[in-house]
Amino acid sequence: MQKLGEFKLPQFFNYPPYFTLQPVKETREKQVQLWKELILDYCRTQKIFIIGLEEEFPLFSNPVIERSLSHEGREAFLSALVSEGRAEWMDKGHRKCLILWHRIQDWADIILQYVKDNGLEDSVVTIEEIRSGTESQGTELYGIDRTILNRALKLLEQKGKLVIFKGTSADDEGVKFSV
């Protein structure tokens, strides 16, 4: 089976029509679903948070069969993810897309779990620590995208689970949990 680094590609990745936007409704629906699943699956395992439409993205071309996805196709499949709440456009021009293999709500739950696991209730940590601290190593939070982390923390702040402190720079922004 073909691989992209560690990622095992499904067989249909070598199916040329997979790379052509199908015009027939039913066929296209299935194609879109398969692309959505593959993108989410790939991003989750490879910890990819942002897909740039104009940049190289390994999934969007298959040198083995010499096929690559057109810009129209990329936008169509990512838009399908956006409409399901599994992605967000980061700019109006749809050039960058934030992939949410966990929804923001799910990320918030993961943070709470992290707080509980490390006994951080009522403590203060910097945001950077959540992303790259020793406690977060081996969890899904390790290396999380800054935008997603901020969004999840904001959600928790709204729920009164924590307070965000503005630091002098982005590096020393901190949060005080009050779970």
Binding site: K8, F12, P16, P17, T20, Q22, T27, E66
Partner: protein, 447 residues
């Protein structure tokens, strides 16, 4: 009624009368009754509200249901008509349906005598009652013309040498393979004879045309004379106001216009009938080319073939389209079909897409096709149709979900549709049977 005095006419599958060789249709009238004035003459059929067709040889009467193949159709040979009465102008006639009366000769055994000679035992007067719209005066003029033209006599002379059977089959575009086969010396001799005859015939026709030209020339001379006088009178009264001159110019334009249009009224009044008849004729005609093309044929091809068969009386693409769209209303074995791409074809009603799709499926699941897909020309070879047609078939197979497309720098190809077989919840799952499995097998064979 055990029998009747009029010969029956064969009707084609689409409800058109089968014409004699060299017979040409001249005029159509709808909703026509044919009445025999002597009520006692019971062998004259009861003909109510049908289509009357005047040809160079006969008067054909088709009941409305004849189109469906159930009704009746009769012919009155023009040769049996001994007199056509001129129309009566009376106050009563203005309100009643227009009528045309003629006298019909009967032979001794009570049948209509086509030869019009010899044993005429009696004659009856038949009335044509025109209930529908139609220019009866124009009809009457044509009726006289055809009757006087005696086309049936001209035709019978050459046909006697090549045998009646042969000519009957090769009449107009209905001819299939009725021609006599050319074999050996006899064939060469026959060919010589035919060539000689056709030269003779074309010479005759040329003189016919000359006659027609001369009769038209007479009209033209009259018209020219009229115009000259009008212009003269105009120049005499040059001092008159400009508006009168304008008036005369308009009048002159009217005349000039009337020279160009042959019979505008007729075309208007017979417009509906024209397309209807054209439609039926086309349905008959298209059968053979359709068979040859495998049950489906491009409309453009039909247009070319049909006009080639018509020779001089060409029809416009618009007329063809209109004729085809009228098929929905008649019981004909062919239909007009429009593909999603806009390509229009004529196909047999019995033609089934399923058969085509089955063939495409077999083609698309061959190992080579699984690997590299199929192009329109691949399908054209398998299906035995033109590549453009094959592409339409592939596109409709695609829209049915049988195929899907691959657009790449290499071109536009179709693959068997694997999408429905792929498990959405386990993308890497591979069942050991089905098209998906055989596709995986096929792409891994070369290495």
């Amino acid at each position: 009624m055990a029998w009747n005095c009029l010969p029956a006419v064969d009707v084609t599958g689409s409800g058109r009368p089968v014409l004699l060789p060299d017979e040409i249709e001249c005029y159509y009238l709808s909703s026509v009754d044919l009445l025999c004035e002597e009520d006692s003459y019971s062998s004259f059929p009861h003909l109510k509200s049908g289509l009357l067709i005047l040809t160079t040889h006969r008067l054909l009467w088709l009941s409305d249901s004849a189109a469906a193949g159930a009704g009746s159709a009769y012919a009155i040979p023009l040769g049996a008509i001994s007199h056509i009465f001129s129309a009566k102008k009376s106050l009563k006639a203005m309100f009643a349906s227009p009528r045309v009366r003629f006298q019909l000769s009967m032979s001794a055994d009570g049948r209509v005598d086509a030869s019009g000679s010899g044993s005429v035992s009696r004659s009856v007067v038949v009335t044509i009652v025109v209930r529908g719209k139609g220019d009866v005066d124009a009809f009457l003029a044509k009726f006289w013309e055809s009757w006087r033209g005696r086309a049936w006599e001209v035709q019978s002379a050459p046909s006697s040498s090549s045998g009646p059977g042969a000519t009957a089959n090769s009449g107009g575009i209905y001819g299939s393979d009725g021609t006599v086969r050319m074999v050996g010396v006899a064939g060469i001799l026959r060919k010589e004879q035919e060539q000689w005859e056709s030269t003779d015939r074309s010479l005759q026709e040329a003189f016919h045309d000359l006659n027609a030209l001369m009769s038209k020339a007479k009209e033209m001379v009259m018209l020219a004379e009229k115009m000259r006088q009008k212009l003269l009178s105009g120049s005499n009264s040059q001092t008159n106001a400009g508006d009168e001159e304008m008036g005369s110019k308009e009048e002159m334009q009217d005349w000039l216009l009337s020279v160009g249009i042959i019979s505008p009224v007729t075309k208007e009044s017979a417009g509906a009938l024209y397309h209807q008849q054209l439609s039926r004729q086309l349905a008959d005609f298209v059968k053979i080319p359709l068979e040859r093309a495998g049950g489906i044929i491009n409309l453009i091809d039909v247009y070319c073939l049909f006009n080639r068969a018509r020779g001089t009386e060409l029809i416009s693409p618009d007329d063809l389209l209109q004729a085809c769209s009228l098929w929905e209303k008649f019981d004909v074995p062919v239909v007009l079909r429009k593909f999603d791409s806009g390509v229009m074809v004529i196909q047999n009603k019995s033609h089934s897409d399923e058969q085509v799709f089955a063939k495409i499926k077999i083609l698309a699941t061959k190992p080579e096709a699984l690997r590299a897909g199929i192009s329109a020309s691949d399908a054209a070879m398998t299906l035995g149709v033109a590549p453009a047609m094959a592409k339409e078939h592939l596109l409709s197979a695609e829209s049915k979900g049988l195929l899907c497309r691959d657009v790449s720098p290499d071109g536009f190809r179709f693959y068997i549709n694997l999408f429905p077989e792929i498990d959405l919840h386990d993308m890497r799952l591979l069942k050991d049977h089905g098209v998906y499995a055989s596709w995986v097998k096929a792409i891994h064979v070369p290495g």
